[in-house]
Symmetry: C3
């Protein structure tokens, strides 16, 4: 409103119209007739009106004494903070298993099913100009509702770095730090088994001003339960750090190479570790309201069981890149576990995958976090009249949880994926996972029966509907 008034005033002032008055000639030279004098008088009155218009326009404040402004939302007078926004998402999965007999003997008869893999609500916002927060709960994972990202951030604590306090994903691993809403496949790769992931603690993190590099270091209690707590006098501490950089960073996403590395040292409460993972898919049924009869949850295909150990050191290396509609990401993780009453253990895992958008989109890079970001279809399904974004992708991943006295098994997965992004907030995903397990005889959780020792295979068909807001 004011904008128009001010603009009006400015435009009028620019032209500096003269005030109506008799021409600048000697009064004795020409005498206006009575009619002409009256005309001058009227002109002066009209000029006065225009001047009033100008005054009204140039001094908007008094205007607001005249009347309320019912058709404009008034500028909020109340304090700007705290701000809060409700966000969330859910993933509804359907999964079908095709196991060979050895695989069934090794991990049990995996049941077909449908389930919500994740369903989250979060409050996010600013508590103050330099303090942001998130309070996120997951309602789908056993332990419901689980603490997810529950933290407060104070900006610019040391230089332009931020301090984060609460529960959050510890800075270790590119896959682990990629948002679960933005994953190319249904689940993270098999080496996810090693990650400290969400723990309660504090971190300092920042990035290069041109977003060419990121760094982070954290200290935390370990292992944090699903409600964000950990106790234990005998250890229970860990630290993690991650550094990433862009080696090549051509504009427009045409040519980008990311490298990164991480390290984590963990002294667990109660001197116990356990590493395990499902075959990059999960489906389960839990809680009351249904009649039992089958194993309600998919068992881990590889599982070390409890290991009595003083501490563990984790190392990770990342290499990723994109060029046009093609992108690729890979990571290797190595874990060294110092057993209490046994030899030093070495476990490892790695994955590599690539994706290509058939419809021409690019996978953007999130330079603040050092991970790939959200895909936005060029033309969404709906009023835009598009077909959304279509992506094909494939992944190889591997984890070896067997070493010396621990027989957790070796698991290799090959996955083919097809993703259909209807719009930036809705997608359907289809994965075919060919999972190859090598189980060793031993005291560990896998295999569940002796007939499962050796190589076995499972084919897994899975699909997902996801919406976020």
């Amino acid at each position: 409103c004011l904008r128009f008034a001010v603009g009006l005033a400015a435009a009028v002032v620019v032209y500096s119209p003269a005030v109506a008055q008799p021409p600048d000639v000697p009064a004795s030279d020409t005498q206006p007739t009575r009619i002409e004098a009256d005309l001058y008088s009227q002109l002066a009155r009209m000029q006065q009106q225009i001047d009033e218009l100008k005054n009204v326009s140039a001094a908007p404040a008094p205007i607001y004494d005249f009347a309320p402004m019912p058709h404009c939302e008034p500028k909020p007078e109340k304090p700007k903070f705290p701000t809060v926004r409700l966000t969330g998402f859910f993933q509804a999965d359907a999964v079908y298993f095709d196991q060979d007999a050895t695989n069934i003997a090794a991990v049990g008869d995996a049941q077909d099913g449908a389930d919500f893999r994740r369903a989250r609500l979060a409050a996010v916002g600013q508590a103050w100009d330099n303090v942001s927060y998130q309070l996120e709960m997951d309602f789908a994972f056993p332990g419901r509702p689980n603490f997810m990202d529950v933290w407060l951030d104070v900006d610019d604590v040391i230089g332009s770095n931020n301090l984060r306090i609460g529960q959050f994903r510890q800075p270790f691993g590119m896959d682990g730090l990629t948002s679960v809403k933005e994953m190319t496949f249904l689940e993270r790769g098999l080496p996810f088994a090693f990650l400290p992931f969400r723990q309660i603690g504090a971190a300092l993190y920042g990035n290069h001003k041109d977003e060419l590099a990121t760094w982070a270091i954290s200290a935390f209690r370990y292992p944090t339960d699903v409600y964000g707590g950990n106790v234990g006098d005998n250890g229970g501490y860990g630290m993690a750090t991650r550094l990433t950089g862009l080696m090549i960073n051509n504009d427009d996403g045409n040519g980008l190479v990311h490298v990164g590395g991480g390290f984590s040292f963990i002294d667990p409460a109660n001197d116990k570790f356990q590493f395990r993972n499902q075959p990059e898919v999960f489906v389960g049924e839990d809680g009351g309201g249904v009649l039992a009869g089958t194993n309600p949850k998919l068992a881990p295909f590889a599982d070390t069981g409890e290991i009595d150990a003083r501490n563990a050191s984790l190392f990770s290396a990342e290499l990723a890149g994109s060029c046009g509609s093609f992108y690729a990401q890979s990571e290797a993780i190595y874990a060294q576990v110092d057993q209490l009453a046994g030899p030093m253990l070495s476990f490892s895992g790695a994955y590599a995958y690539c994706g290509y958008f058939l419809t021409g989109e690019k996978r953007p890079y999130n330079g603040k976090a050092g991970v790939f970001g959200t895909v936005t279809p060029t033309k969404s399904v709906g009023k835009e009249g598009g077909i959304g974004a279509w992506e094909v992708a494939t992944r190889y991943s591997h984890v070896d949880l067997s070493d010396k006295n621990i027989n957790g098994g070796r698991l290799n997965n090959i996955t083919a994926g097809l993703n259909w992004y209807l719009n930036p907030h809705t997608k359907f995903q289809f994965n075919y996972i060919y999972s190859m397990l090598n189980a060793q005889a031993g005291a560990g959780p896998v295999p569940v029966s002796a007939a499962g020792v050796g190589d076995s295979e499972a084919g897994i068909y899975a699909m997902r509907a996801q919406v976020d807001f």
Copy 2:
């Protein structure tokens, strides 16, 4: 702001004012005097000012370079989607039981108590112009928090029909599809025992363009647990369909007759069914923080226990109508269960109820869903100075869960209800339920002791406070 400017421009343009200039006569005919020429010059300058006003009005864009617009909220530039709204409601109940001795022997000593029957929070919104979603959790029902409506809808998938994916109330039964916020009595009628209700799956649904009919068909996993999951290789699938129409539909709610029917076929996971129901009221205490001593939950009055069965077919018929402040609704449901090692079973249930608004309101009909809708008091309590809406209602309902080798009991309820709607979002409800149970001797959960065999009665006084937002 622009509106004013554009309007101004339009108004001025309509009048096409002439530019100030000498009259259109031959120059030789009359020569203006020097004074008169000066007047023309001044008129021209004034006209120039007015023209500038017009230009300013007609070309608003450059205006915004001059100044910010602090008193108008700028039009949001960011994407319109996703949208999100936080909604929810809760129901606080107090219940008193008056059982005869046989009834206590049959179902246990039902304890008086107070409880939150339902307490829900939901995020609802649009993920895109053609994709809507809901993520709703209930915090009051055992299993807390439970998945309620958690789905995404894609509009106009086949013709003008919508596709729904996730967990939702399956299209079967008018009572079951009526919102729990809008029920005439505290609970749905006894035949609710048979409904598949909320399951994880997909549905296609739509309605006649004038909302004279609705249709829906769905496929789902069965039985879905309280967290939206189901697994099982041996079955675990179901389908449901419902069709409704208006036979009479006079405007203004004066004369409406609804008919409908539904069918559902279910092949349950693990070949197990169980049908049961409380006496149209529920109160309980659960979880920690209190000292035990009494049975903390109201037992079902009728309960088949687990039935080993291949599948079940469900049939429903609906008849409802309204005229002025009076309305009535009835439904019959028939279930045929194919036992694994026993004869075919037949169970059935029915209810009929009517309501009347003493304060003159009408019960609106929701033509998109084929159910009755929300009551809005003519004059709410508060600033409107009204007494809200007052409604009396009565219901008879029946369920027979005994057949052949299954002794689930026969239950008949008569209910008198009084509802006080303070405003469209707050109501108090009072129910007196006279519950008549006929329990047969058998291996089922009811009766809990032999002394409970035969006819027994319970009088139940219940009240509820409800608020929704």
Copy 3:
């Protein structure tokens, strides 16, 4: 927008410009020349334009037919109610214990740890002009999520008093009614053990029009579980009342003296009571996802165990005051328990504490609730360039849970606190608690082993990060 238009019209009208016309002289006296007549004609046309400007300004409604108003948010036309706002907060704690040997024998080896003490989300708003509500859940406390404040309020039910229905903190005790977000120390004082606190029921409450006094009376079911329910035919009812007043109330917070008292009578369901408390700190780990090995929760230091009793009467007295940056609060609670098969029991507790703001802030008094309110730093950390508010505080508190046949223990705590309020919504708290336990030999939960009988000490270091929104 309209504001400008109306303002323009008003300004123009004030000056009542004359319409352009020949001077008011007899027509026969002076005849305008043809040129002059034309000038009048032009003036008239220009005046007509200005009049049009006026008309456009004075009659804004038709303007909106010309064009949409894309730069102003239109005034919302939809109903004003219900309103809803998402609020919440969380507290992340880290705690370290330093127990002597007797204390470890008395209460177990308390484990160091980190945990979310509270994490809450709430929907609050108005369902109608005279009906407000809250639906709050806590996700951190065992039993998650727990019902917190879940109620509806109807305004002006008897005079200007409000009626509250649902679960809420019963009106008894100043400490108990102070918001957990605004506590000076990490936890409420030891006498909190006796409070009915949150129960399901109804209350009538109000305050003096100048906020010089508050009153409240309530009836409720007892004990209400973590989900807001209670059942039981044998009792299960309670009532509470509280009255507070300001003896001295100088403006500007310079000199305020608060006195108050409360009474509660409780006939518990199942004739059972239990009083207990942790040493004003709590840390725990619970639920799955972690490997066990230590006692996951801090045990109560004083605990009566279950007492079979008919009823209990509770009495409280409050005295508090503030002067400038200094404030103090104290409370004494006396409980009399009528045992079923034993003598009448008397338990008691008291606390007193004071706080002082080093940075000059005052602790405001909430005259509507009769408790101290929220601290707002004079200059917050961030763009305001301040250091926030810094507060030092100390508390002594005591509870005696041993009487006659009940050996719950006597606990005395001395606490030193330092609070740093970064801004009105973010704070860090540091507490050192010196806890002195006197445990008697007996059948109660404390001590857990005979070596714990007698006096023992524990030093507790605790810190908290809190953000609210």
